[in-house]
Symmetry: C2
Subunit: 186 residues, 2 copies
């Protein structure tokens, strides 16, 4: 960020929380733009940070899950993903916990691969996307009552086909997967 960038920032004249429920926190700001224009009600939704992971086994199989998503109202193949809980020491720990709970896979070599925003204009949190190589099956799934998902292993070619067919609808997952395809020719 430079000085010119700072001049683009909005001034918050007033800010109030409309909801502060665990899964739904909404703020209404009254803001003033650098050009003097005011927006009386600008809504921002806040969530804890999210995580997801491209997990690949030693046999080069990609670990996917399939689940129903109520916002969009349909069933999709997805990367394993979840929320950074307060008990987690870091986003890495959150991602490793989610992978173990949802799929039973663990170990391997992990790096933080991307850091993304679902929508910088109206959502406050970010998603930490990890890449985990050489993960292995350690135990069975351990799902919460609100989780209903199945585990699927795909080859690189099968993942590429899902991407090309636009079957990976979730942008926070499509971005790191397409990055992987761009950077790993194989």
């Amino acid at each position: 960020m430079n000085a010119t960038d700072k001049e683009m920032y909005w001034e918050v004249l007033k800010s109030e929380y409309l909801f502060t429920e665990p899964w739904f926190t909404v703020r209404r700001d009254t803001v003033k733009l650098p050009n003097g224009h005011r927006i009386p009600s600008y809504y921002v939704t806040e969530y804890p940070d999210w995580v997801n992971v491209i997990a690949i086994t030693e046999a080069k199989q990609f670990v996917f899950v399939k689940q129903y998503r109520h916002g969009i109202g349909s069933v999709h193949f997805e990367l394993c993903a979840g929320v950074c809980e307060k008990k987690d020491a870091s986003p890495l720990i959150s991602a490793q916990r989610e992978l173990m709970e949802e799929t039973g896979y663990g170990n391997g070599v992990w790096i933080e691969y991307m850091n993304l925003s679902p929508n910088p204009s109206t959502i406050k949190n970010v998603t930490h996307c990890f890449l985990a190589k050489d993960v292995e099956k350690i135990r069975e799934q351990h799902l919460e009552d609100t989780e209903d998902l199945s585990v699927h292993l795909f080859s690189r070619e099968e993942v590429l086909k899902l991407l090309r067919n636009n079957e990976i609808k979730q942008s926070l997952m499509a971005a790191p997967l397409w990055k992987f395809m761009a950077e790993n020719e194989v």
Copy 2:
């Protein structure tokens, strides 16, 4: 979708709108999962569909904008993007209108490149991502009072550098840009 997928759908027992403002529509559903578990308050935010566009000039320059984003509270390089307005006949028309208004670029050859969800679990809308080749500068920007953005032209190498440095934070833009890099070796 197959029969097994359909069995994963949630049943909506009750649904009510908490907000129906133009820029903020929120629904609270009471749902029942296939395993019988109930979630008394499941929040879904609704927006009109969104659009964005990878616009490339005949000289292979990528048209970017730079603007402040209040949700995340910082300034970023982004693709030109916007909302499908009711007056627009199609998402393509919305994207062409936004590109012209925000940057003054138009014409060229357009395809719908991806169709993405910002977050399928809690957000209802989708984003139509376009790829427009051989666009040309036609007129000056024509911004709304709430818009304050500058136009920047980048080479493919400069875009790749932005991507590798994780400076494209918006997942709905990082996904089509990484797809472009994966599919266009140059």
